[in-house]
Symmetry: C2
Amino acid sequence: MRWHAPQQASGFSLCSSNSRNMTTKQDLEAIENQISAIQVSSHGETVNPVLAHGGFKIVEKGRNWGWLLSGFISLNILLLGIAIVCGSVFNKIQISSSHLLIFLILIVILTTVWMVYYKIHTSRVFNAVLYKDSHAGPVWLRGGLILFGVCSVLMDIFKIIYYVGRIHCESPVKIAFPVVQALFVIVQTYVLWVHAKDCVQIQQIITRCGLMLTLSTNLVVWMMAVTEESLHQTVAPVDPLYNSSSNGGHKSNVESQGRAGDSECKCIHDMCDVFEKAYFYLYPFNIEYSLFASAMAYVMWKNVDRQMDEHHSHNLRFSLWDVLIGPVAGLIILVAGLATFVMYEVDVAKEEPKKKEEALIMHYIMNIVAILLMSIATLIGCIIFRMDKRDQVSGKSPTRSLDVGLLVGSSLGQFLICYFTIAAVLASGVQGRINGLDLTNSILTVIQLCLQNAFLIKGLHREPFKETETATVYANVMAERERDPERRSSSIVPAHTLPIPLMLLQGRLSWKRRILKEICAFLLFCNVILWIIPAFGARPQFDNTVGSDIYEFQTWAAVVNIGMPFGIFYRMHSVASLFEVCLTS
Amino acid sequence: MRWHAPQQASGFSLCSSNSRNMTTKQDLEAIENQISAIQVSSHGETVNPVLAHGGFKIVEKGRNWGWLLSGFISLNILLLGIAIVCGSVFNKIQISSSHLLIFLILIVILTTVWMVYYKIHTSRVFNAVLYKDSHAGPVWLRGGLILFGVCSVLMDIFKIIYYVGRIHCESPVKIAFPVVQALFVIVQTYVLWVHAKDCVQIQQIITRCGLMLTLSTNLVVWMMAVTEESLHQTVAPVDPLYNSSSNGGHKSNVESQGRAGDSECKCIHDMCDVFEKAYFYLYPFNIEYSLFASAMAYVMWKNVDRQMDEHHSHNLRFSLWDVLIGPVAGLIILVAGLATFVMYEVDVAKEEPKKKEEALIMHYIMNIVAILLMSIATLIGCIIFRMDKRDQVSGKSPTRSLDVGLLVGSSLGQFLICYFTIAAVLASGVQGRINGLDLTNSILTVIQLCLQNAFLIKGLHREPFKETETATVYANVMAERERDPERRSSSIVPAHTLPIPLMLLQGRLSWKRRILKEICAFLLFCNVILWIIPAFGARPQFDNTVGSDIYEFQTWAAVVNIGMPFGIFYRMHSVASLFEVCLTS
């Protein structure tokens, strides 16, 4: 008994419609992707053809109160944190920083305890983690976590030494917090390093809540660090009592002004000044650490109860010899950037206005050249993506859309700084070379960010070239599942039967792929240097006084201190994404 | 030639597994929903069995650069707006409010021009809008838009009269802006009223960009209004020059202090004071209007290129006689709330500390009683939802998840105010009856908000009872599409063949449905009164000085002025959602 005839006919009608329309192959792939998204495999359960379906998972998800509960926990901790941080900034007496520190100690200890429990519990229970998300916790994120984690622990040690020297006039909570925080950072770094890819299947409600607790703890720590850093950069605390005496003097040296309020308290050892300088130098790393940990906790939270399709394990090969011009040009920019960065730091440290001005001009010119070249390269890349409509995948992968969300979200920080700069320079009337360069730099950066975001979003939503060329296209759920050649009765259309001259396509695309790879490599190196310059301490936003002249210094410090860590995160994330786009194109 | 045998067999095996597992019916429904989500109908195109698939739409979407472009436009306008607003607050000289107004006039005119173009173009082109989203632009949103729009136009007229009286000492831009804004509000209200449900199919890139322009214009107007309102409530501008003289005097009457900085300028007619008071009284309505318009523009943007499945047109009947206790109890709360609100307003206006204290105590007690009852009712509702695991739909409907997003997002405003109050009262040591009541009220409100959000999220993600009982369950893409009885060859399982005793289920659920309806009706009335009290001017946050004592007045005013309009929006949105949950349960 043969049943194939009618479906075969429909298969043929499909083929004939394909020859008319070149985009149909793409459509078929999209359908295949959608179908494979439905067909999430269900290991370890009684195999019921319906239960094995993706629908079951969605119902499970919708039913999950843990999702709601963890969301509310996070919301409440975060908002309470915001209120206490605001209170401690605007009211030094009734809500002191000790209150904030006590709150922080509580949530930090709670989070640490949960993480230890999680570690023990998942290692004891056999089927706690059945799946790993290969996209989660990429190496740059985990590497960054380790690096910034080490710096955070160092910062805590310096803080402890500093406050031990002032134990007779400071609250003991100020020593307790860095101790607890150091422990927290060590435990968290270990747990996130080991478990970043977990898709937890047991105790989902507790795990979701714990991860949200981790996320909110890190964000509250981040808020506190940003606030302290901003207050440290302004002359005195924002307490209204200090207002009349300290207003106006905020434009001079930023580094030496943090200790205005506590001059009566003498340190019992000689090293207080050194350690204070050292721990404030390490603050940005702690800020960055909190952002990294938050991002990883969020990805883990998203992955709770997720069942992975192993569909996306490509064996991508990276050969340096595929590309030449891009990496070479990128390396030139990188070396030039490093050279100007060193010269900039040296010149700015000299405290001479003339030298500082020269350093700023050099810095801006270097940046403008780099960003202009990057914009042009990215624009070409976008045009190539626009021309090449072939291999687009649907945007349904949660890790993928999370990735894109983090990318666009973190770019907001640099957007914010750029727009504040643009408004400030325009308001000041664009006087002098420095301001002109600053304006050009900011406008170009905005354009470059838009282009790079578009390029990366488009690039990340593409299937790798190789797979597309050999894949077999299915258009039927049943057929894919049952796999029985006798019953493969409906419109399965192997790619090689499609009347598209694939070889021709491949040949024509080859130069596009080459250019895309060159562009990615170039952008990668450029993003590395744009990451290094702010990450290792260059702050032209403060060295150029236009921002702090137009806005109050405190507002400007807040904008820069919130925006900059996101900007650094963005550049690192971009490097990783560009590497991926480079591999898949 | 009959082919049915093997598939029928699999259908039977399904049924036998069902008798073992009661949740399977639910799974089938979820699968049906997922399948119907894939099977988006594609009217008006050449019918190709593969192209007619949902996959095509997703590919189209992914390919759409308009989405990216409009996002970047919105991002850039918003961030520039933030920078200019911040500049105009912190620097009155180089970035004056005139600069801000010129920026606003530009984007408002641009948006108005686009809306006129949109109106003309869509009415001329035949197939511009093929589909309407029945969930978008519900009547409460459009009604609110009209109401607040009328108030905004009134505000603009008062503003024009006020500034005409001061034309000799104010910039003419200050008259130009309200004129342009009034025009903008009229055009926008008309366009949104008529087109809120549109799913635009032509000129998608331009439409997306235009809608994002509308969204960002409204948000920038919103930011400006919030800032002006906050500055008005504080004594003097934030300019550091004013700081030393005006600090400390911010706790007395809020209404009469707005004109501290401009006392040198005399009005040429007698009515300036009256009109100034009037237009500042109308500011909150304008703030609310901008939020409403933003929400509607965002929904329209989401709906560009969407092709609706007409699947969700239930004929739901609402009978008042189904429920009794809920509405009666709700009405009692509503009337009591109205009475205390009127007494509160009268007492507070008297300016006697004794009377004010009594008014606050009464207000808090009223609020605590209402919110406590609401929390209990919502908790019961949540427990019923938890017990009743039957009819859950997958959360894939974009309008549905947008609705939930707006709900949770707008609740953040009230969360923020509550947490700031809690921190302030705790920091002040909870002295006196008023502070104790304020603390209780805030904590209960936080709990109530969490519960109500959970209740509404769960409630909105449910299929209506009626449909579930009569629906036929399909589990195959092909079968549903082809509809040919001869070829309905795979595992189609009509619901009435499932061995679940449906009648029994129906009987058992009846009391649950009754209770759910009662709870919804009760919560609905309570939310109405919680909406009325702040919407018509009660501001216990300012009458009780604990917030402004702990934080600086300006911070507190900013928190309340940002949080309160979102809170009002949240209560209105809740009323509409509760009505929907009431109908479907």
